[in-house]
């Protein structure tokens, strides 16, 4: 495994190249270009803000913390996850031409998708800071050192997504409708984590302990809470939730890595 990781590390320039190509192809085809990566999350955030912030007044469950800030801090990170779930499946099939003619560690293709989507997330991140800044002037809200949680949250999520991308991209070559299955799963997973609703709603719902444990076993829950906590420290996950999430992310990463290695010969024949 180590020699393999070294090979991928050596190909990081290739990785950068693929990511840059993906981003240019995506944005040169539209007039709005870079603004698209802002427009989409903003439109989604505005919709949820209207429904859950205004109509259902979720504010009450957050101890008075600003709902909009809660929403965008989780939603933008979810959009990263969601985009990876959707597009990592085709990371190998869509680039079959390159993969079957040029020898590079094949892992760079799915990993490239994770990074590509990460940069789109990064492009939207200033919006979260802007909203936090507005609240710090107008409401009883303050930035704190908890912002340092953000890089950690991103790292955990990145490790998780790389594992997922390796799994999905190679599985999709052997079973082509993994892709369709994922678009269904994508919608369900969105509601499986505290993104639009606060975690407190779940813990105070009176659901039985075993059900809560199943809920918390979803690594997306811990990841979402970490992202919220960077701006709203009260949301920081409990020790047990944090430990579960970290363990799972590492396991998924390793599983993805080994699965990819295992099916690589078969994948290359099928492409």
């Amino acid at each position: 495994m180590t020699s393999n990781i070294v090979a991928v590390w050596r190909s990081r320039s290739v990785l950068g190249l693929l990511v840059r190509r993906d981003l240019t192809v995506k944005y040169q085809q539209s007039v709005l270009g870079y603004l698209w990566s802002l427009l989409e999350p903003l439109a989604v955030a505005a919709t949820y803000w209207f429904v859950f912030g205004f109509l259902y007044n979720t504010k009450g469950d957050l101890d008075g913390a600003p709902y909009l800030l809660f929403l965008v801090s989780g939603l933008f990170s979810w959009i990263w996850t969601s985009a990876v779930l959707g597009e990592a499946t085709t990371a190998l099939t869509a680039q079959a031409r390159l993969i079957t003619t040029i020898k590079v560690p094949r892992q760079v293709f799915p990993i490239g998708r994770v990074f590509g989507k990460f940069f789109e997330y990064l492009a939207a991140l200033p919006v979260v800071f802007l909203i936090a800044m507005i609240y710090s002037f107008t409401a009883d809200y303050h930035f704190s050192w908890d912002l340092l949680i953000l890089p950690f949250a991103i790292l955990v999520q990145g490790v998780f997504l790389v594992g997922i991308a390796l799994l999905l991209s190679s599985a999709n070559v052997l079973l082509r409708d993994v892709q369709r299955f994922m678009s269904l799963l994508n919608r369900i997973l969105f509601y499986s984590a505290p993104i639009i609703y606060p975690m407190a709603k779940v813990t105070e719902s009176g659901m039985p302990g075993w059900l809560l444990r199943i809920y918390e076993a979803n690594p997306l829950v811990g990841i979402a809470q970490l992202h919220h906590a960077a701006f709203l420290p009260a949301e920081f996950p409990s020790t047990s939730l944090l430990a579960t999430t970290l363990t799972e992310c590492v396991i998924i990463f390793l599983a993805g890595w080994f699965f990819f290695r295992r099916v690589e010969p078969a994948v290359l024949k099928e492409l």
Binding site: S13, V14, L17, R21, V25, Q95, R97, L98, I99, T100, T101, I102, K103, V104, L174, L175, R176, D177, V178, F181, E264, P265, L268, K269, E270
Partner: protein, 248 residues
């Protein structure tokens, strides 16, 4: 002769014939249990061993579907053998499947930059060599270099592909049936380039059906039939064995 540069030891590649290309999850679950599809495996290549030394020019001969391209892909490292091992001591510049791996929606220039960089050319090298590559590919390609490769003719693609590969400094050159597609003028250019490369001491691995091309460059021939090595010797012997088979 120089050092060994490609060492293949008992290589075998297995394909599954009955495997449908687009297996669906449903099939997987329905047939996942006991009712498995009868697995019809066949070996595209088996028990292949050879050593190629630096500076050699080797021609690979065989009928269609006998595993020549599969062998080339293994040497290029884009296919992993199920049995045996292959070692290449030095980077490989491959021209496989008549295109160098160009993507249809990128322009010729972007493709050259992408493929060149994936093959390990640095940005400065690329900048320096881009005019050479375009010039080598010919006027037709030069005037279309900023349009998507989708609109290129197959001849133009091959020319641009060969132009990129020819500029790589890698010691091993793999060529799969490329010379057959270009026109006469381009073929002569290719001949010159290949001769130049051989005199530089690079190693050539050529798959071709053209006896002329094979005799022109190669001293050694591998004749492959039904996935097995029939002849590994002087190119004339390999050609004779191949012709003998085709005539009968």
């Amino acid at each position: 002769m120089g050092q060994p540069i490609i060492v293949a030891d008992n290589i075998g590649v297995k394909f599954v014939r009955s495997r449908r290309r687009n297996t669906k999850l449903r099939d997987f679950f329905v047939q996942g249990g006991k009712r498995r599809l009868k697995v019809d495996e066949f070996w595209a290549l088996r028990n292949l061993s050879f050593t190629i030394n630096a500076g050699e020019a080797v021609g690979v001969i065989g009928r269609n579907g006998t595993g020549k391209s599969t062998l080339l892909k293994i040497v290029a490292g884009v296919l992993i053998p199920d049995e045996g091992t292959i070692h290449t001591y030095g980077r490989v510049a491959p021209l496989l499947e008549l295109s160098a791996g160009f993507s249809n929606d990128l322009t010729g220039r972007e493709n050259v930059q992408l493929v060149g960089a994936l093959h390990g050319m640095s940005r400065d090298e690329l900048k320096e060599k881009l005019p050479k590559i375009i010039e080598f590919a010919g006027d037709q390609v030069a005037s279309a270099i900023d349009t998507p490769v989708r609109h290129y003719s197959s001849g133009m693609r091959v020319r641009l592909g060969f132009a990129v590969i020819a500029q790589l400094p890698h010691p091993i050159l793999l060529v799969d049936e490329v010379l057959a597609v270009g026109d006469k003028e381009f073929r002569n250019k290719c001949y010159k380039t290949i001769e130049q490369m051989l005199s530089d001491g690079r190693t050539l691995f050529l798959v071709s059906h053209s006896e002329g091309d094979l005799k022109r460059f190669c001293k050694r021939g591998l004749y492959i039939n039904a996935g097995h090595m029939e002849v590994d010797g002087p190119i004339m012997d390999a050609l004779d064995a191949y012709n003998g088979l085709v005539r009968t």
